[in-house]
């Protein structure tokens, strides 16, 4: 093989989930052109986007980041991180920047840091909505009302903002919400790799060693891209990639296994060819990529729902279990009346959900099994309202009503729920939901994903 070649290391699938230092070292010996790592996802749920918090603990993120930074700086190659801090909003990028500076300071490192913003201001989005530049994907999608209702909205960037940062000679790029693949596609595209190869290799790299046959633990993955093909292999000696394992990876967390929709275009892998070139390395050819005529970015928003309090308990009495649906209905009715007794005409609104483990708590309406065969059931009672105090108050009322809710089979006072804790309820704090999916037109992506640069000299920020 000769000619154009780009070599990439993926740290792992999520920064902070860990990888073996020996795997990274093995990859560094292969002369990589860059290291990438994804640091976020919607997978942990809407809370992180809404509350501006991160899902992985700081020490775990710092451990991974520190090894990746040292490796990248010592080889003088870019380190590219996308979807910073789980959700990729401003507080998330800021939190990863702080960890980066901490590591830089402890190790007296010098580099140019690029920070790419993905958070979208509501006023801009409202204007774009009014101009018809935002199109809902799901129903109702992230529409005018959802824009107003969202606590925070991020756009998912494609390759352009990364390309810009690398063009400006950034050594480390920390980007807000990004397409997982854009992290890995940007540099190869800059160097002239065919976009189909760049995006498909990126799709395999984005989950780290997940494309290996049996991923015993999160780890690094290595890819070598040529103009019209790429090869991929795991960096742990204990793992192997096979044509099947690499092909199967495109299934994961993806609704359509043949077409992958990216901000820059659509990758089609229906006719991709996977060939083993060694017992652990796979060569991929024949993918195609159709650029979008107008680039766009998926919007993700988190809508604040209220404060939640929950009680965990269980029921063992077969007569209560036998009438559990009716029991739950009676409990809801009694609670409503009790809330009215306590608050009078100023009764707050609240949402009361009863999850019944052993019946349908895991699948809800999708559960095809209607009959309970278990000798005990678990209960999670959830109250959501406008304030934590109201939720705490109403969950306390719910506990007392649930505890002593009569059933016709028994006469006299019963205690029908085993509560797990004292105090019986847990404060869950703020809860959120995702606003619907929409696509925002981004004819010039850099306008929506601005990049700023920070120079670090011997561990100190100098501008």
């Amino acid at each position: 093989m000769s000619g154009l070649r780009v070599k990439a290391i993926a740290g792992n699938g999520v920064l902070g989930s860990g990888f073996r230092e020996s795997s990274l070292l093995r990859g560094m010996a292969l002369g990589p052109d860059f290291i990438g790592c994804d640091a976020g996802s919607t997978d942990p749920g809407p809370y992180y986007l809404g509350a501006g918090k991160t899902a992985f603990p700081k020490v775990a993120v710092k451990r991974d980041l520190s090894l990746l930074m040292k490796a990248a700086r010592s080889a003088n190659i870019p380190l590219i991180i996308g979807s910073a801090g789980t959700a990729g909003g401003r507080p998330h990028v800021e939190s990863l920047k702080e960890i980066t500076l901490e590591i830089a300071s402890e190790n007296e490192m010098s580099f140019k840091l690029a920070l790419i913003d993905a958070e979208q201001d509501k006023s801009t989005l409202t204007e774009l909505w009014n101009r018809g530049k935002i199109t809902p994907i799901s129903y109702p999608g992230l529409d005018y009302e959802a824009i107003q209702a969202s606590e925070r909205i991020v756009g998912m960037m494609g390759a352009d903002p990364f390309v810009y940062a690398l063009d400006q000679k950034a050594d480390i790029v920390i980007a807000g919400r990004s397409s997982d693949c854009a992290i890995y596609a940007a540099l190869p595209i800059m160097r002239g790799i065919d976009p189909a190869v760049a995006w498909h290799a990126a799709k395999i790299l984005e989950c780290g060693a997940a494309a290996a046959e049996t991923r015993s633990s999160p780890d690094c993955l290595f890819a070598e891209l040529e103009k019209t093909a790429f090869e991929v292999e795991p960096l742990s000696g204990e793992m192997i990639c096979t044509p099947q394992s690499v092909a199967a990876h495109s299934l994961y967390e993806n609704a359509n296994p043949f077409e992958l929709i990216e901000p820059d275009g659509v990758l089609n892998i229906a006719k991709s060819h996977y060939q083993a070139v060694s017992s652990r390395r796979v060569r991929v050819t024949n993918s195609s990529f159709k650029p979008k005529t107008v680039k766009n970015a998926k919007l993700e928003g988190a809508v604040f729902l209220g404060y939640q309090s929950v009680i965990i308990g269980g029921i063992r009495d077969p007569m209560i279990i036998g009438q559990i649906d009716d029991w739950a209905g009676r409990l809801k009715k009694r609670l409503k009346s009790r809330v009215h007794d306590v608050y009078g005409k100023d009764s707050p609104t609240y949402h009361f959900n009863i999850a019944i483990y052993g019946k349908d708590a895991v699948m809800g309406d999708l559960e095809p099994v209607k009959k309970i065969t278990s000798h005990e059931i678990g209960l999670v009672l959830e109250i959501t309202s406008d304030t934590q105090e109201i939720s705490n108050t109403i969950i306390s009322l719910a506990r007392h009503q649930a505890l002593h809710l009569p059933i016709p089979e028994w006469s006299g006072l019963i205690t029908g729920v085993a509560c797990r804790h004292s105090p019986p309820f847990l404060e869950r704090g703020k809860v959120y939901k995702f606003a619907g999916d929409s696509l925002m037109e981004t004819s010039n992506p850099l306008d929506f994903f601005p990049c700023r640069f920070v120079t670090i000299m011997n561990g100190t920020e100098i501008n």
């Binding site: 799901s138 994961y252 309406d365 559960e367 959120y432 939901k433 619907g436 999916d437």
Partner: protein, 104 residues
């Protein structure tokens, strides 16, 4: 033969916050083809099992890896009040015991 006995992996997972996707990965192409021939995982069958409209269900057959993929919109979006499964990870169980007739 039950679906769980002729597959190496059956899993479900979110495909974004609004869609759940199920991967049914067969042990070999023979059983994969039998499942397809017998229409075991047709949109209609899956719709009947989960109690959702069949037009909401997308199914894909991927012969290269002897896999059938099924995707459908979530009844409750990820993390919304009443969502039972934040990661969508336990939504595959009702198809495990579907019977494939093992005739050659």
């Amino acid at each position: 033969m039950k679906l769980r006995d002729c597959t190496k992996l059956i899993r479900s997972k979110n495909a974004g916050p609004f869609v759940v996707t199920i991967d049914v990965m067969f042990k070999n192409s023979e059983m994969f083809n039998k499942c397809l021939d017998q229409n075991i995982l047709s949109a209609k069958n899956v719709a009947d099992i989960y109690g959702i409209a069949s037009e909401k269900i997308d199914t894909f057959a991927i012969p290269l890896i002897s896999t059938i993929k099924i995707s459908f919109p979530r009844a409750v979006s990820q993390g919304d009040l009443g969502d039972p499964d934040n990661h969508g990870g336990q939504q595959y169980a009702p198809i495990l015991d579907l019977e494939i007739i093992d005739v050659s």
